[in-house]
């Protein structure tokens, strides 16, 4: 099962990925924790699963740093905490995306057999 493979093989490889994915999702629309977990699973075809136990520490950390803001909203009779990205969060997402793109390009180049890869910034 891909989800388990991601979790169990090398969790440290995933460092920073939940933050990036969460910011990207919330940039598009506000969501609550359960929705975020489901959305990441669906949009990555279950290759990446941000565990239920991971999402809240990441959300709270980002909110504390000012990258996210939250509000309580009642939908269908159930009260939930919805998160959305702030201006600082948008900047942070842009920086993370740039780093991630550079990293994946460098890894792909390396994997393709390139011998003179550019330095990763």
């Amino acid at each position: 099962m891909p989800r388990m493979a991601v979790r169990e093989t090398n969790p440290s490889f995933m460092n920073g990925v939940p933050e990036l994915l969460i910011l990207r999702l919330l940039e598009q629309e506000e969501m609550y924790g359960y929705e975020i977990v489901q959305a990441i699973r669906e949009r990555t075809d279950a290759v990446i699963a941000v565990g239920e136990g991971v999402v809240y520490p990441v959300l709270h950390g980002l909110e504390r740093e000012g990258a996210l803001k939250s509000r309580r909203k009642t939908v269908n009779g159930r009260s939930r905490v919805y998160y959305s990205v702030t201006r600082a969060g948008t900047k942070r997402l842009a920086a993370l995306q740039q780093t991630w793109s550079g990293l994946t390009a460098a890894i792909q180049k390396m994997m393709a057999g390139g011998r003179h890869g550019e330095a990763i910034g």
Partner: protein
């Protein structure tokens, strides 16, 4: 479900995570687990099976707790600086309440007995009630602050060592504190007032007894909580 969340709450509090943050994490996780259970039920499971499956999905509570604990920004001030909250906090709190008591004393003196040399005389009627309020606040302040400190220690599962130190300091200040109020002699026409707050010297048996009484009145609510929590933990 509630038992697992209680365990998580306890673990986070004992690790020094701020109670406000613990409350929020547990509340959101509870809502999340309810969503997972509903999802499992929609998949055709019975409620009991759905609940078991939902509890497995977030991983172990230990793992989750470790992720929260690993974020230092969520540690409470009491966990980061217990000496400040339980050592200095009670003394500052006592000072604030005593200040309020002194304001009552001085305003009562100026309003009810403007020509009296001292406010420590027998009074009646409204003045008695007013001065009684100030006196009650003055004498109850160490116990009230002690209860507050005890509730902070209980709520945040703080080490009892710091609490005992805070209480000892508080009881000593409360038992040894003295207030004197008199007119200054230099300019009787202006009738200025001098209020002096200090510590008793030399110590008398009365002062030491006062310290003991404060400690005896302060500790019981916290001790009762400790007994209760030990009993519920065993159950």
């Amino acid at each position: 479900m509630a038992k697992r969340l209680d365990e998580l709450r306890e673990k986070l509090l004992r690790a020094g995570v701020a109670p406000r943050h613990v409350r929020r994490t547990v509340m959101e996780l509870e809502e999340h687990l309810a969503d997972l259970r509903a999802e499992e039920e929609r998949g055709g499971q019975s409620r009991a099976d759905a609940e078991r499956a939902a509890l497995k999905r977030p991983g172990s509570m230990d793992e989750l707790a470790q992720r929260v604990i690993a974020q230092p920004q969520f540690r409470s001030l009491s966990a980061r600086a217990p000496w400040a909250v339980l050592g200095l906090g009670p003394v500052v709190g006592l000072g604030a309440l005593w200040m309020l008591a002194l304001v009552i004393l001085v305003t009562g003196w100026m309003v009810f007995m403007p020509n009296s040399e001292t406010p420590f005389v027998r009074v009646a009627g409204v003045a008695a009630v007013y001065f009684g309020l100030g006196r009650a606040l003055y004498f109850a302040a160490p116990v009230l602050v002690g209860w507050w400190v005890g509730s902070v220690a209980a709520r945040q599962r703080l080490r009892v060592t710091w609490l005992l130190l805070g209480w000892a300091l508080l009881a000593w200040c409360g038992g040894m504190g003295q207030v004197t109020a008199q007119r200054t002699m230099e300019s009787p026409s202006c009738k200025p007032i001098a209020i002096l707050v200090g510590f008793a010297s030399p110590w008398t048996t009365g002062h030491l007894l006062h310290v003991a009484v404060i400690l005896a009145l302060t500790a019981p609510p916290y001790a009762a909580w400790r007994l209760w929590s030990a009993r519920t933990a065993v159950e």
